[in-house]
């Protein structure tokens, strides 16, 4: 669907440790695809640009995002109260490809990268694809009770850096041994180093079964300014706009070496 630009009302805010889920009304015809994002105005203090947040949930007349506080814009957004107005542009970008031969999907999330994968998981299950969500975070309390909530709807495995919950280590330590591609589809979103490690684990054969959502700083969100460049493999040296040609890219599409250098 073409993007919509709309002002809406915050219906509900649920706080989960370092992040909050914001639920708001959406206009008729709003139909986001998993992996697409919303570009939200975060007013104040000389902040100009919108901030991109993945669709975390969508249910007929409302949708939600999961906002992790990392700076001024996300902090402002997290302080909104039910009844407050939000200025939203979206849905934007190319989301995940839900088709694939493999019957089983591994959803691999680092931190707030869990947001698009939760929505993806719902849609995959509706299509009869078996999905397991692997989620890595710093410590067990970081996202409050969100893991419990998600655990009710999806098969969830946790890893924490400090070992306070789930497996001690990174999310990659959770993946089934020998899972180097065959038989699974991989969907991933999280910090750049996590994506790089996953790609090198799957490369070269398994990259074709990998889809990643890449985060890059954005301005327009529409493909007009070319500010959100992501290096791609073909043609060599070229970039694609994360906001339009992404944020989801196939593992084989990306130039992982240049991504490594710019990280």
């Amino acid at each position: 669907m073409p993007p919509l630009l709309f002002k809406t009302t915050l219906l509900e805010r649920r706080d989960y440790g370092c992040a909050s889920e914001l639920v708001f009304r959406v206009p008729p015809g709003f139909q986001p695809h998993p992996g697409q994002f919303l570009h939200i105005l975060c007013d104040g203090e000389g902040r100009l640009l919108r901030r991109p947040f993945s669709v975390f949930g969508h249910n007929g007349r409302s949708a939600s995002v999961l906002v992790r506080e990392v700076g001024g814009g996300s902090a402002w957004l997290r302080r909104r109260m039910p009844g407050d107005e939000l200025d939203v542009l979206g849905p934007l970008g190319r989301g995940f490809d839900l088709d694939g031969e493999e019957e089983e999907a591994l959803l691999i999330a680092g931190g707030a990268g869990v947001a698009p994968l939760v929505y993806l998981g719902q849609r995959l299950r509706e299509r009869g694809v078996r999905a397991t969500l692997f989620w890595g975070m710093e410590s067990g309390k970081e996202y409050g009770t969100l893991p419990e909530r998600l655990g009710e709807e999806i098969d969830l495995r946790l890893a924490t850096t400090d070992g306070s919950r789930g497996k001690r280590g990174t999310v990659l330590d959770l993946l089934p041994c020998g899972s180097s591609g065959a038989g699974f589809r991989y969907y991933a979103c999280g910090p750049r180093p996590m994506l790089l490690s996953l790609a090198s684990r799957l490369a070269p054969g398994g990259l074709s079964s990998l889809q990643v959502s890449v985060e890059e700083r954005m301005a327009c969100g529409l493909g007009a300014c070319r500010g959100c460049a992501v290096p791609v493999a073909d043609p060599p040296g070229a970039y694609r706009a994360a906001c339009r040609e992404g944020p989801v890219f196939g593992g084989e599409e990306l130039d992982w070496e240049r991504l490594r250098v710019s990280t």
Binding site: P3, G46, L48, L89, R217, A219, C220, C228, P231
Partner: protein, 312 residues
């Protein structure tokens, strides 16, 4: 809109009629297509395309954006599909709209500028050429020219020979001397000035001790740039008798009116488009309201008003 009905927003700049005085700045509106999903292109007074270079250009390494307080740094680096695809895909598409198009031309050598400008002029589909000699994100052809009025005049004269449509030259705000540069460009045959491009700028990530931009340096745009733009328009319009399109941090109708009063015959909206895709239609309505509230019937009455009131 009762009271605003007598207001006439039409302007003419270098002989090009515009239905309203708001254009979209180069690089902040793509080549129209991406934005057309959200904005009626015909609501704009005009559109200035993303820079076109002879060959396709991949642009600078990421990150290319950094937000500062009331401003934004970019180091896009002229990413574009190159002249051939611009002429076959973008310009014909744009010409289907009732919308004057300024084609922003950039190059890495004089020959490239001449070749691109000449092809754009010959296409018959552009209203004007906007020569971008001020991109802070490429060394030769960008910042280089803007430091050398003599060389700039040479370039403008060469391009002038091959262009049959109005030729605008886009200058940076901080040049050797705005008056000197404007005169050099005027004498070389330019029909108008675009003022201003971004200011060379930089930001540092102190935690990681590295530059914020992949290209190390970039250009500052947005509200932080606005008073600098007003000053540049003031200086240039006091030095030469050329029409000026003013741009730099236009965020509201009164920002635009400042540029008119300082001497701009039209204004262009840049960074604001990235935040508010429908900014221009909003500003058009605000300007209508401002003019009717203040008793202006035409935009021209405001253009250069400060000097007409005796300010020097």
């Amino acid at each position: 809109m009762g009271t605003a009905e007598g207001v006439d927003l039409r302007v003419e700049i270098a002989g090009i009629p515009l239905k309203n005085p708001f254009l979209a700045c180069s690089g902040t509106f793509g080549n129209g297509r991406e934005m057309s999903e959200l904005v009626d292109l015909e609501a704009l007074g005009g559109l200035m395309t993303k820079a076109v270079t002879l060959e396709p250009c991949a642009g600078n390494p990421p990150p290319r954006l950094w937000e500062t307080r009331w401003g934004m740094l970019n180091s896009i680096g002229l990413e574009n599909k190159g002249l051939e695809r611009f002429l076959s895909e973008d310009l014909p598409w744009l010409s289907g709209f009732d919308l004057p198009v300024w084609v922003n031309v950039a190059g890495f050598s004089v020959r490239e500028y001449v070749e691109v400008a000449s092809a754009v002029s010959r296409s018959g589909l552009a209203a004007a050429v906007e020569l971008n000699i001020s991109c802070p994100n490429v060394e030769r052809g960008g910042a280089h020219f803007s430091r050398h009025p003599g060389e700039t005049a040479g370039l403008v004269a060469r391009v002038r020979e091959v262009v049959d449509i109005p030729l605008f030259v886009k200058l940076p705000p901080l040049t050797v001397g705005m008056g000197e540069m404007a005169r050099a460009v005027a004498e070389a045959g330019a029909d108008g000035l675009s003022l201003v491009n971004t200011i060379p700028a930089m930001a540092v990530d102190v935690e990681r001790a590295c530059p914020r931009l992949g290209n190390v340096t970039g250009g500052l745009s947005g509200p932080a740039l606005h008073p600098v733009a007003v000053h540049a328009v003031w200086e240039a319009s006091g030095s030469v008798d050329l029409p000026v399109i003013g741009m730099g941090g236009v965020w509201s109708c009164s920002d635009a009116v400042e540029l008119f009063m300082a001497g701009a015959g039209a204004v262009a909206v840049g960074t604001l488009n990235l935040v508010e895709p429908r900014a221009v239609p909003r500003l058009v309505e605000e300007l209508r309201g401002f003019m009717s509230a203040n008793g202006y019937l035409t935009v021209t009455e405001m253009v250069g008003l400060l000097r007409r009131k005796g300010w020097r």
